[in-house]
Symmetry: C2
Subunit: 132 residues, 2 copies
């Protein structure tokens, strides 16, 4: 199978597939003409990677998850640990963003948004008190 077919079947773009090969996530063979030769298994792996990435797992997480995926002797606790860790980081990000949102919403509400220069948003960002 050529890279285009695999891209279509897995949902992962050709560029990304080549990149994944570069960093050693997949190892397709080569045809005589130099084209990458993929198997069904590669399609599965790439779809796996696509889903993992969509859930926000880093490439390194993906590497780990893929290894566990292929390891018949894995213990589910290993997988769970990776997922829990990732979950924690997502929650941290959410909290950070929510805090930003709270502040920003507040500032945006306070700002008249008219032709005058006075602006509570700039006032808040500014370390010196603006027009009082």
């Amino acid at each position: 199978m050529n890279i285009g077919d695999v891209a279509r079947q897995s949902g992962v773009p050709p560029k990304t597939i080549r990149y994944y090969e570069d960093i050693g996530l997949i190892r397709p063979n080569r045809s005589e003409n130099g084209y990458r030769a993929f198997t069904e298994n590669h399609v599965h792996k790439l779809a796996f990677l696509g889903r993992a990435r969509a859930l926000g797992f880093t490439i390194e997480d993906c590497r780990t998850l893929l290894a566990l995926y292929e390891d018949e002797n894995r213990e589910s606790v290993q997988v769970k640990a990776v997922a829990e860790d990732h979950l924690r980081q997502i929650e941290e990000k959410i909290e950070k963003l929510q805090s930003m949102r709270t502040t920003l919403t507040d500032l945006v509400e306070k700002c008249a948004g008219d032709h005058r220069p006075d602006c509570p948003i700039l006032a808040d960002l500014s370390p010196v008190r603006m027009s009082e």
Copy 2:
């Protein structure tokens, strides 16, 4: 004032200050010895940048905000537009992350997390049905 003092007063690290000069956010003079020479105004600007960055504004947003900050003829609607746009992007990110969290929380809950290989997390990532 040298870069170290400015860093302490503004809360922005020296490396970052140099970077901000590189990309044209600030333009300190130079002393005869080649050291950057900062003024109080630079400290204000850097503190401004620090706060804007903490609210998640991009560097380009910061550039715009800084220009508005210094423009006495600005209209608050300009500032508000930047903030509202940013707020929208934050909200998008939050939604994406919350969706990930929902899925991940669900998967983590379902996973036994023991010594056995069966794992709903991997099963979900996998395009082929695992052990049924």
